[in-house]
């Protein structure tokens, strides 16, 4: 891109814009160093502080959309800061449950903290990219960390299987993504979003429809794989099952949020993606994903696998929201934020007891309501929220999505979505029934013997899920504000 003058001033300005990312980068390196110097005890705290600092800086850095950094490679205004903050939050919440989980399984793997920070960095790069190359780099940075997470317990068969499977299938999907980018570059000569939106490029695309469709289709597939949309979801249950539980929760939230934002940015910022055919591919994938995820989830006997299929179903709802232009983007971000809270909560709490109850089979949770009532109540709240029962936050999320879809006039898909989510209630409820309505002999404690940090994390999440159900505007308003300047994004170029 030689149209951009290379100057120190430009670099300095860009660095200032991407300060939140630099904080994460620095923290990641610091974590590796600390680990080498044997300060393993402090790692989770350092990582947590980095997430907090980075999110805080991003949150205060709000700017109208179109503030690009590094020669048009990164978007740092508009929704970028808020998305970055959300992603940091998903990392931070995971930390609450992570070290306790590792301790319980007697695996003191301290690299995991640096990897977590780098994963969030990758997610943020992908979500806020303003160039297809950047999207790809971010996605790969994130994926590398996730592959390692899946295979973290390297002496365990399931973990190994998960890691390798994810790596092989993930690379396969990345190949499609990259090929799609290459084809688009091939016909337009650029990968920059602003340039892709320019009238000349759009003309070129129109004259090269077939190649464009192949490229765009492959690009879509690569992203749909990451959000485990049907029929690209097969890896999801196997991988989540083998991944350490809190990290599986992280995978299902952070990485999906980043991918959804990237997908949404493509679909709503680039005119070439405002195409009925591409939209209907996403819409159809969304419907199939919801139906499939919910039906198969209802047949699982293992809570972790059930949550994995449920995460597939939730991807379906969000994809549906993405079909609904601007207000859909808002609903999507809101939904993913809520989903992050309740899903990390559910996975995290599952991880807290996984060690004492030999595995995550539903059968072993019989009478949990008597053995650990407070725990069971909190877990039920997450499940009710996932099921979309008001007044919990999950209901508000679904409500926003469906109202956005209806406003677009997509009545039938919305009805299918509501119907699918009703099926979904069944399997969340089944866990609650097993916990509360089946007999178990003893009463032990209100809570399982977990250390204070994961308990605090769960408590915070329960409060958030309750409060955001009643005061959703706390999060909705900032999102709306950030989005309100989005439409000008394509116009400004340094």
């Amino acid at each position: 891109m030689n149209s951009f003058p290379f100057s120190i001033a430009e670099l300095a300005l860009s660095s200032q814009y991407v300060l939140p990312l630099l904080i994460l980068l620095g923290a990641g390196l610091l974590l590796m160093l600390l680990d080498a110097f044997g300060a393993a005890k402090f790692l989770p705290w350092v990582a947590g502080a980095a997430f907090l600092l980075s999110a805080g800086v991003a949150w205060t850095q709000g700017a109208p959309a179109g503030r690009l950094a590094f020669f048009g490679m990164m978007e740092t205004g508009g929704i970028a800061p808020i998305v970055h903050a959300f992603l940091c939050l998903s990392g931070l919440l995971t930390l609450f449950f992570l070290s306790d989980y590792l301790d319980r399984h007697d695996r003191h793997i301290s690299d995991v903290y640096a990897l977590l920070v780098f994963a969030v960095l990758g997610m943020s790069l992908m979500a806020n990219a303003h160039d297809l190359i950047m999207t790809f780099i971010g996605l790969e940075t994130m994926s590398m960390c996730l592959y390692i997470f899946a295979a973290l317990f390297k002496t365990e068969l399931k973990s190994n299987e998960a890691g390798l499977k994810y790596f092989l299938l993930g690379s396969f999907a990345s190949a499609f993504l990259l090929y799609g980018i290459a084809l688009i570059y091939g016909i337009t000569g650029t990968t920059n979003f602003s340039l892709l939106a320019s009238p000349e490029r759009i003309e070129i695309i129109q004259s090269q429809q077939t190649v464009f469709y192949v490229g765009a289709g492959m690009l879509l597939v690569g992203l749909l794989f990451k959000v485990s949309a049907f029929p690209f979801h097969f890896w999801t249950p196997d991988v989540y099952e083998g991944t350490p539980t809190p990290l599986a929760g992280f995978m299902a939230t952070g990485s999906k949020m980043a991918t959804f934002v990237a997908l949404g940015t493509l679909m709503h910022q680039l005119d070439m993606f405002q195409n009925t055919k591409l939209l209907s591919v996403v819409g159809l994938a969304s419907l199939l994903t919801m139906i499939y995820g919910n039906i198969v989830a209802s047949r699982q006997q293992n809570i972790k696998r059930m949550l994995a299929y449920s995460s597939i179903a939730h991807s379906g709802y969000v994809l549906l929201g993405l079909c609904a232009s601007q207000s859909g983007m808002e609903a999507m971000l809101f939904y993913m934020f809520i989903y992050t809270l309740m899903n990390i909560g559910a996975f995290g709490m599952l991880g807290m007891v996984e060690h004492d109850y030999p595995d995550t089979e539903l059968e072993n949770w019989r009478g949990m309501g008597q053995k650990a009532p407070l725990f069971a109540v909190a877990f039920s709240l997450f499940l009710f929220s996932l099921a979309g029962i008001p007044p919990l936050a999950g209901f508000m999320g679904k409500y926003e999505i469906f109202i956005a879809v209806i406003r677009e006039g997509l009545l039938l898909p919305a009805i299918v979505g509501i119907l699918a989510s009703i099926v979904g209630v069944y399997y969340y409820l089944r866990v609650i029934v097993v916990m509360f309505f089946s007999k178990s002999g003893e009463t032990s404690a209100l809570l399982p013997s977990a250390s204070r940090i994961p308990l605090a994390g769960a408590a915070i999440l329960v409060v958030l899920v309750l409060v955001l159900g009643i005061f959703p505007s706390l999060i909705l308003n900032p999102i709306t504000q950030a989005l309100s300047g989005l439409s000008q994004a394509t116009a400004v170029l340094p």
Binding site: L157, N160, E161, L164, K165, L168, L169, F172, T210, Y213, V214, A216, G217, M218, V221, P231, F232, F234, W235, P237, D238, K277, V281, Y292, I295, V296, S298, R299, S327, V377, P390, P391, M396, Y399, E400, I403, A404, I406, R407, G409, L411, A414, I418, L419, I422, V425, Y426, L429, R430, V433, F436, F437, S438, K439, L446, F471, S473, L476, N477, T480
Partner: protein
């Protein structure tokens, strides 16, 4: 922000939170039955007091209040805003009034139950949700209450969850209600699409607009879906099956939730949206037919049941059918009138049955404390229970002068007079009359076999009347069951001049105008009244004589009368079996057969099988060789091909 009215909503919530958290956190608190019980009752009594003052000080100006703005998105502003108006005031009186009585009754009934605190926390939570449902100013807050009452009902049905049958009943109630909720949500979204608002007053104003009326049946789907939602909550065909099973919950719950309040939510909602329904005569026709079928089916079932609570449950379904018949006839105020009188006598009947069950259990008088075949002559030892139960029985049977007579007569006459416009209503009226006869019959049978005749429980068992904490609420409700009907005197007395209730609701709720038919065919009004007199008194006397003469053996005569059909009645018309065949099994089949190939169960199998095997990289590769990963790649490639084919050639 906190006006006095907002306490109506907030106090029950506060009670639920304090009792729930206190009980969870502190074992000593759980034992304070008096404190918990009276605290919970106060949290309903105070709102009752506030509603009462607002009711008597009502100036035809709806009292609106708002707690805070819930969400604003895209020009849609949803607030936690409530309205006390012509319709919600009387409903709230019933909910908080009957609710408070049942709270007090439960202090006695739940005595020494290990889940005492939980029970009252749930009850308070229920009142909170129900208040939201009724006072909501917009559909979203209404839906919050709608879901909330469903949740509380679910928690309370499964209250004694040591019993798997109860857990299943709870689950069934919840899932059936979700089907109704689905219809509700779609209806809400359709309303939003059509009116651009979810505010009740704006929707109704728009719908009552004459220009809009001319647009024909454009409300058809909305109203039909609202009705489907109502069939879920208010137990009509096809979604009623959960209500009889819901009797697994503690009896005060059956009285409060499954008789007096929650199950009338569907009726309330339809009345709330009455302009939409008035403009959709086709849907009103659907409602009236479904309601008539439900009503007669449930009444026939009730005759052949022997569980005291099951009889009352089917009776509730049948009476709800009456209310829906009124809706179907466009007589919205009449439906609410019957909601109110029914709340009095049915709550009294349920609480009475609770008193009986309580006594039977304590005396260890029979294997099954709910089976009326092992009761009989309980009236000897339980004077108050027996007397109040009989009063309410006569009220529901429609004996002239008692509450049920007025409201039921009004329903039947509105059906009849609709018949002059559309003959279908004559047929529905006939079914309604037949159901009224059945009602008088099975209720008399129930009361007689329970309280009179020969004692059939174990000899030597000492039956005791319940404590005053339980009998006083019974008496209050029995008095209301006698007097409740006088708020609505029949049309022929002063041409509707003295129908206080219609006047009260008149501004807000518009009935289908039958004025013309009533004046023209005034003679029929006398005939109908006379018929009601004869039928109710005649049937009660007939049933009483039959059962006093033959005692339990009279059931055989009934069996002989109905012949083979009796088996269908005793089998509850086989709805559960039907659903099992057409819904449950096909769904299970889809899950197990059709989707199996996608489920990667194979992986599960291998993983469990290999659990004991030595973990190692070789093992991992062996399993990857099993073709799963390559299978996945083939499937993904297939997906890609489909997508590209569609994009290029589609």
């Amino acid at each position: 922000m906190v006006s006095l009215e907002s306490l109506i909503v907030l106090l029950p919530l506060l009670g639920a939170v304090i009792i729930g958290l206190g009980g969870l956190a502190n074992a000593a608190f759980r034992k304070q039955e008096g404190l918990i019980g009276w605290l919970a009752s106060a949290m309903v009594l105070i709102p009752f007091g506030i509603v009462l003052t607002r009711f008597f000080g009502y100036q035809n100006m709806p009292l609106s209040f708002s707690l805070f703005s819930w969400m604003q998105a895209g020009g849609l502003d949803i607030s936690f805003s409530y309205k006390l108006d012509d319709l919600s005031l009387p409903m709230m009186l019933v909910v908080t009034g009957v609710g408070a009585l049942i709270h007090i009754y439960s202090i006695g009934y739940m005595h020494k139950d290990p889940g005492f605190y939980k029970f009252f926390a749930y009850l308070n939570l229920f009142i909170f949700a129900m208040s939201n449902l009724i006072m909501a100013d917009n559909l979203v807050v209404m839906f919050l209450g709608w879901e909330g009452v469903g949740l509380c009902s679910y928690l309370l049905i499964g209250f004694w969850y040591t019993d798997m049958i109860k857990a299943e009943a709870a689950q069934k109630a919840f899932i059936v209600n979700r089907i109704g909720d689905f219809a509700m949500l779609v209806a809400m979204f359709l309303i939003y699409q059509m009116f651009g608002t979810l505010d009740f007053s704006l929707i109704n104003a728009e719908a009552a607009n004459p220009v809009a009326e001319a647009a024909g049946n454009r409300y058809f789907w909305i109203t039909l879906l609202v009705f489907v939602a109502a069939t879920g909550k208010s137990a009509q065909i096809p979604l009623f099956t959960w209500l009889p099973d819901a009797m697994a919950g503690p009896t005060p719950v059956s009285a409060l939730i499954h008789a007096a309040t929650m199950v009338t939510a569907g009726i309330y909602l339809i009345v709330r949206l009455n302009p939409l329904f008035l403009a959709s005569p086709e849907v009103l026709m659907v409602i009236v037919v479904i309601a008539a079928l439900t009503s007669v089916m449930a009444a026939l079932t009730a005759i052949a049941q022997n569980d005291i609570k099951k009889v009352l449950a089917y009776s509730t379904v049948s009476q709800l059918g009456f209310m829906f018949m009124a809706l179907g006839a466009g007589a919205f105020t009449t439906a609410i009138f019957h909601v109110i009188t029914h709340a009095f006598f049915k709550a009294c009947l349920f609480l009475g049955s609770g008193s009986v069950i309580h006594a039977m259990e304590h005396a260890h008088a029979a294997e099954d404390p709910q089976d009326i075949r092992t009761m009989g002559n309980l009236g000897k030892d339980m004077k108050s229970t027996s007397l109040t139960f009989w009063i309410s029985t006569l009220a529901i049977a429609g004996i002239p002068g008692l509450a049920g007579f007025f409201s039921k007569d009004e329903i039947l006459s509105s059906l009849f007079f609709n018949g002059f416009e559309n003959q279908v209503y004559f047929a529905v009226w006939a079914v309604g009359l037949f159901t009224a006869i059945l009602t008088a019959f099975y209720m008399t049978r129930l009361a007689w076999l329970t309280f009179n005749g020969k004692a059939r429980y174990k000899t030597g068992a000492h039956i005791h009347e319940s404590a005053p904490l339980m009998t006083i609420p019974l008496w209050i409700l029995a008095v209301l069951a006698v007097l409740g009907g006088y708020i609505g005197l029949p049309y022929l007395i002063g041409h509707g001049e003295f129908h206080l209730f219609n006047h009260w609701l008149g501004d807000l709720v518009v009935n289908r105008d039958l004025h013309h038919a009533l004046e023209e065919h005034a003679v029929f009004e006398y005939l109908l009244l006379a018929l009601a007199f004869i039928v109710s008194i005649g049937t009660v006397l007939f049933a009483r004589n039959l059962y006093s003469k033959h005692d339990l053996a009279a059931d055989d005569k009934v069996k002989g009368f109905f012949g083979k059909f009796y088996g269908v009645m005793a089998g509850k018309f086989f709805w559960d079996e039907l659903y099992d065949t057409i819904l449950v099994r096909p769904f299970a089949w889809i899950g197990s057969k059709l989707l199996r190939p996608f489920e990667s169960d194979g992986v599960d199998g291998i993983v469990t099988g290999a659990g004991s095997a030595v973990a190692g990289i070789g093992e991992v590769f062996r399993r990857l060789q099993s073709g799963l990963v390559s299978n996945y790649m083939v499937l993904i490639s297939g997906g890609v091909l489909l997508v590209l084919t569609y994009l290029i050639f589609g």
